[in-house]
Symmetry: C2
Subunit: 197 residues, 2 copies
């Protein structure tokens, strides 16, 4: 197993340290960080300093439209790099943690997107059996938390917040924090996340 | 009209200067060069110094298998960035110069790949009418040369060689040079390319 993370100019680059910790904890043979500049395109609260991350939205607000935290074509770019690496490794299987059920309205977290990318990857490379696995795509956040507990995940290593403070503490108020907190609450699992303030 | 080129660690980075010249000659509103590191994956004669570019192959050799000049998932990565920029610009139309007829056997130059990427782009972004145009995809090299002449292209600005010398002169012997030369010859158009030696 190998892992790949993207340093794309995200506001929450704290997640890169978390990705590396998790990769090591899971015994990955290699962890690769790809630097890509998505700040040149901006247009998202995650990659443009002059756009603020929305806070304290309730779930009805989250489900009505694609939020400003959406990063244009991000998962397509991520999967393209994973496809390139898979081809070089002569590997067919890529795993992606997207979630369509409790999601924030991102088009590139839907199963039809994942399936279409898989087809594109099969047609665009030598890997005609290339497969994108998205094991979390149909789960609720609570189901994800429970599945992780079953598999021995230490959630203290993980990070979800879009707008952490300088010490990496989660804001507790962005969509990502709100959904994560609700997941822990509904799963009945203690939330080990370090929150600011 | 805007143009996009990729500095991906290619051996023939001379093409980047050509892309900029052409963009300026065509009056593009903006020319953007995206830096992406495909050398980290290697595995191609175009991105790995220890793999040489094949020379003096005849066309029967070119059509039998995917050659070592194939760069893993390159066009998928290129199109992903174009998709991101198109979305930010609120633009639906991306044009790509791939060619499936006189091609060197690259899977990501085929129309079925282009159509699949278009579908992936529509599903993965807000641009549900996103369209990838590949106006050269079904033309022979000779037809491409003639079409360019009709449209006023100065072929002296263009570059095809995979392995130019330090002065940017074409080798005349790689697959890309061989196909280009044949195209000019069959079209009955003088070839303005500067060849080495």
């Amino acid at each position: 197993m190998r892992t790949m993370a993207f340093d794309y100019g995200q506001r929450h680059r704290h997640e890169l340290a978390a990705a590396e910790r998790i990769s090591r904890a899971m015994g990955a043979a290699e962890h690769r960080v790809v630097r890509i500049d998505l700040r040149q395109f901006g247009n998202s609260a995650l990659t443009a300093d002059d756009i603020t991350v929305p806070k304290d939205r309730d779930e009805s607000q989250m489900s009505t439209e694609i939020p400003i935290t959406y990063v244009p074509a991000r998962n397509t770019i991520f999967l393209s790099y994973a496809l390139a690496w898979a081809e070089v490794l002569e590997c067919d299987d890529v795993f992606l943690g997207v979630n369509a059920l409790d999601y924030s309205g991102y088009p590139d977290c839907r199963p039809e997107f994942v399936e279409s990318f898989q087809r594109t990857g099969r047609l665009g490379t030598k890997r005609t059996n290339f497969t994108v696995h998205a094991p979390l795509v149909h789960l609720t956040k609570a189901q994800i938390i429970r599945r992780g507990i079953e598999l021995g995940v230490d959630y203290g290593l993980t990070h979800s917040c879009y707008d952490p403070d300088a010490d990496g503490r989660a804001c507790g108020r962005c969509d990502s924090c709100v959904l994560r907190q609700r997941g822990f609450a509904e799963a009945g699992v203690p939330d080990p996340t370090r929150y600011a303030g």
